[in-house]
């Protein structure tokens, strides 16, 4: 008992808010703490459900197809892709930017929403962070195989070699190497640190020796001591604080790949914020694509509630509107800037031979998220799922439009061209979805896909000053 708490007179007690202002609980039905452990850990512990085998049966061969395509590309040469002069960056870089962008929602949820004290993030952050890591893995493939002679890709790293040559750091492409590898490493550290207490949960529940040893090994001997929690929470806060500028810098640096060049349509200062907003937009789309079906098949509707889905839809609406504004502003500046090349690049984007890609992009990214203004749509899971996929299609097209339309028209009309993908292009990209889904399915089968300890921490039972947390029974709290 501290004197300060004992001295508060009963009359100062804050009145409960009126029912219409009461926030919806983050875990429905006032479930007890033990239920939360059993329910979340149960997803990874129970018998492998049929749907999982079906999903795995589709995604694993798709992943293998990706590797076969890469092997074919490396053994034959980049000629098997459709890119050629003048469009030397095409599907590969589009896919790279697309996947990197997907990852950004995971970091936004885990870091930025944590700093903003958005407690609803705890139900979705683990799965979103896993999504980030897997998406960055898919992204990393493309620049490496795009270099042509993939066996020299390690030249990008600053390591001493017998060539006595170092990477050239004036180039944004080299900055990208640092940005993406840091992003992957820090996301992995953050994700793993969040997992440690939950791995201890899995260790303590393990039903056989192998599980106990493996979970135990990775739980590092965590024993939920408050002296440990104190350091842990500080480290978590610091990692969130570090990940926030990181996530903003990663897509900014990715956009520098374009913005630092001098091509019309690329050389614009709006790119960094525009890319970051688009990344978060597409990432939330992917989180919804994954979690909307998962919460029903894994019976997690009480933890990932309709309110969670609604809030994510609102983020999609907000970032989608920012993206729409950026599209408009690009056109405005192209006209207002008075540069004929710039204006032509944009005229070509919307009305040139790639007009179809541009208008798919506008329909998917600017028009479709506006449907989320309506609560009826935000709470209709089928609609949310469909729109989330549409958003992802749109964001893939955004990167394609930016890359292909600018490169297809050079300054000299003699150099103009048109890019069409080959089957190898298409199958490699489709294959990365197989890789992504395979990794995600394995993750949810072996690790708790919702942060158990964090979800417990936001329930009323966790609050020592709430009646459900035991307050009032012993007197003064």
């Amino acid at each position: 008992m501290t004197e300060a708490t004992a001295a508060i007179p009963a009359a100062v007690k804050v009145e409960a808010p009126p029912p219409e202002l009461e926030r919806q609980p983050l875990v429905l039905n006032q479930r007890p703490l033990g239920w939360i452990t059993d329910h979340i850990a149960g997803v990874a512990e129970g018998k492998t459900p049929k749907w999982w085998w079906v999903a795995f049966g589709i995604s694993a061969p798709t992943m293998v197809m990706c590797f076969v395509m890469i092997a074919y590309l490396i053994s034959t040469g980049v000629g098997v892709w459709g890119l050629n002069h003048p469009v030397a960056w095409a599907w590969d870089i589009t896919n790279f930017v697309f996947w990197i962008g997907i990852g950004h929602a995971g970091t936004l949820i885990s870091a930025i929403l944590f700093l903003l004290r958005q407690r609803w993030r705890t139900s979705i952050n683990r799965a979103a962070e896993a999504m980030t890591i897997f998406a960055v893995m898919c992204a990393g493939i493309f620049p490496l195989i795009h270099v042509g002679r993939a066996w020299f890709a390690w030249w990008l790293l600053p390591i001493p070699t017998s060539n006595s040559l170092w990477p050239q750091f004036c180039s944004p492409l080299e900055w990208d190497v640092f940005a993406v590898s840091t992003y992957f490493t820090v996301s992995l550290l953050f994700w793993y640190m969040g997992l440690v207490p939950d791995l201890a949960v899995m260790r303590d529940r393990a039903t056989n020796k192998l599980k106990q040893i493996l979970y135990g090994l990775f739980a590092l001997g965590w024993r939920a001591s408050n002296r440990h929690w104190s350091n842990y929470e500080k480290a978590y806060l610091l990692l969130a604080g570090l990940s926030t500028p990181l996530v903003l810098s990663v897509h900014s640096i990715v956009s520098f790949d374009f913005a630092v060049s001098q091509l019309p349509g690329w050389h614009t200062t709006i790119f960094p914020p525009y890319f970051v907003a688009g990344a978060i937009f597409s990432g939330f789309g992917m989180v919804l694509t994954l979690l909307v079906p998962l919460r029903s098949v894994c019976n997690l509707q009480e933890i990932v509630t309709t309110r969670h889905v609604e809030l994510m839809c609102k983020v999609v609406l907000a970032t989608g509107s920012i993206v729409g504004y950026a599209y408009g502003m690009e056109f405005f500046i192209a006209w207002y800037g008075g540069n004929p090349y710039e204006l032509d690049a944009f005229r070509f984007r919307a009305f040139g031979p790639y007009w179809w890609a541009y208008w798919i992009m506008i329909t998917c990214n600017v028009i479709s998220p506006q449907l989320f203004w309506f609560k009826k749509i935000r709470t209709n899971m089928v609609a949310v799922f469909i729109i989330s996929i549409v958003v992802n299609i749109g964001m893939w097209f955004e990167r394609f439009v930016i890359i292909a339309t600018t490169l297809a028209r050079e300054f000299m009309p003699a150099n103009w061209g048109y890019f069409s993908p080959t089957m190898v292009d298409i199958l490699t990209f489709v294959g990365t979805f197989g890789l992504f889904m395979t990794l995600f399915l394995l993750f949810m089968r072996f690790l708790p896909m919702i942060a158990i300890c964090e979800v417990k921490g936001i329930t009323p039972q966790a609050d020592p000053h709430h009646p459900l947390g035991g307050a009032g029974k012993g007197g003064h709290h």
Binding site: P167, A179, W222, N226, Y232, G470, G474
Partner: protein, 179 residues
Amino acid sequence: MDLPPRHHGLLAEFDTAAAILRAAEKVREAGYRRWDVFTPFPIHGMDHAMGLKNSRVGWFTFIGGVTGYFTGNLMIWFMNAFDYAIPVGGKPMFSPIFAFPPSYELTILFGAFGSLFGMLFLNRLPRLHHPLLKNRRFKQVSHDKFFVVIESSDPKYSEPEARRLLESAGAKHLELVEE
């Protein structure tokens, strides 16, 4: 002569967050030094109740971050201006401006390593073997129970006294933890 088996400490179980917070205040006021609270999730206000100071993890992060930034700058200067100078478009061989993005990323990278490993170092983890991890009852700490442990190595420790204190704090169950 058989000595009684040495024990690690006295384990007390509690059911609610409020109960454990009150118990922690009592144990601290009783003047114990080597004791700890174990909870399934961090409880708001527990650091204050236990009298813990602000965590020192931040120093590790800070040192990591500063090291990262200077490593980046030094590396780029060494590689592009000193060891094998690469002239690009008549620009200076080295400038902190173009060295900034990679150095910025290294600041974050090293800072993140500092945070994680600093946290593990301060917590003396990994430690895969611990008397508490052998205790069957203690397994509930990752489920829904709350524990206080007063270690037998505490200078003030005497078993009957610790028992009395934890009972008066409302412990639901008390037991000795084997070494």
